[in-house]
Amino acid sequence: MNPFFHIGRYFMLMFRVFSKPQKLSVYWRQILHEINSIGISSLPIIAIISIFMGGIITIQAAFGFTSPLVPLYAVGFTTRESILLEFSPTIVCLILAGKVGSNIASEIGAMRITEQIDALEIMGINSAGYLIFPKIAAAVLIFPFLIALSMFLGIWGGYAMGVSSGACTEYQYVFGIQAFFQPWKLYYSFTKVIVFAFIITSVSSYYGYHTSGGALEVGKSSTSAVVYSSILILLFGLILTNLFFHR
């Protein structure tokens, strides 16, 4: 189908999503529910991946720095930069696009094919606002905390693996993760996270909301949600990187 059709329909849906909430107390309750379902339930997978990836980055960096001209604190520095700039904000968000995105698309898609969305509309409820706004708000609120945790655990995983394997000393690693730190890079990372949170939830909701047919189509919507969220994450990652690293 024409991509302009999807873009137009996406923005029309977003217009409905961000129209005035009908009852704030109900929306607030939904946001809390979504924070739990989108955010808290993703903690274990994020923790496991971050710790292991931190360890892997540290070992690979230590293995690569064979020249005596490169100080070993560069291991900590490389680990920090990799995790803060790309691994936690982008790769973890790609993982969340798979986990959260498919979940949202299939949940809303199933509601569509079982007429639950029609039921909301007939009650006089703005179904797009009621179903999608809390998911977007919850993700935008909770993703930065998840990614901050991922950063912390990634760096800690690198420390644990680097020191225990003898790749570098504790002092070298700790010195490395503090060396040449530029705080604006955190703004860059968290800006990416907020944009990615919006992309994952809104694109997945879009595909779920416009599901028609049966169980097969719910599966297709779920796949489309993950594929297009991932592509948009990479695209917007590139755009934001160009903006922040522009000289």
Partner: protein, 250 residues
Amino acid sequence: MIEIRNINKTFDNRHVVKDVSFKFLPGKTNLIIGESGCGKTTIMKLMVGLHEVDSGDVVFDGENFPKLDVKGKQEIRKKIGMLFQGGALFDSQTLEENVGFPLDMFTDLSKEEKLDRVNFCLQRVKLEGKNKLYPAELSGGMKKRAALARAMANNPRYLFCDEPNSGLDPKTSIIIDDLIKDITQEYNITTIIITHDMNSVIEIGENIMFVYKGENWWTGDKTEILGTKNQELFDFVFASEFMKTFFKKD
């Protein structure tokens, strides 16, 4: 009262609803009957705005629904209760939450008042004490009854029922029919029921529209339907041997 006037709907060059007009009366069970695929559900979806009419009017007590803005439509919809074919209960909510949902959204009742209303509705559909069950834990008939409880929770002025008996055993069907009829008469609701269940037609058909190939082919009530001379309606009503045996045409 709801009146539809000359409504038309076309999907991909297929003229599905052709110039249909009818008056749905308050306090009566208004039935839309017809073969599968004749356009019954489309007419209902046009009436509640799930599809846009190509032309024609859908008038809810003087207000022409298709001509209203979004807010106006929402105001009308707050007065509508709808029983979907599959129930359309919210999977993630308990029965109590499902039935209480319209009250949460549109009223400022206290928790206790809401619970009282929910319990009243559940008791009305004979599901008292099932408050904490989820839709997945209910049988087909219980789902339909729960959906009916949700539809009536906010005291609707208009009740739409899309094949309320489909997939149910005859005994449960009668329970659902009786419930709908009782609620309609008790609260003077304008009730519209889509069905092809002849038991329902004979039991509760007070104001019937027979739809044939997207057109309003015949109108009447349950007493008139059995003596019909209309060939298409006759073929529909007397499709089964049982009906032919017990209600033969002269």
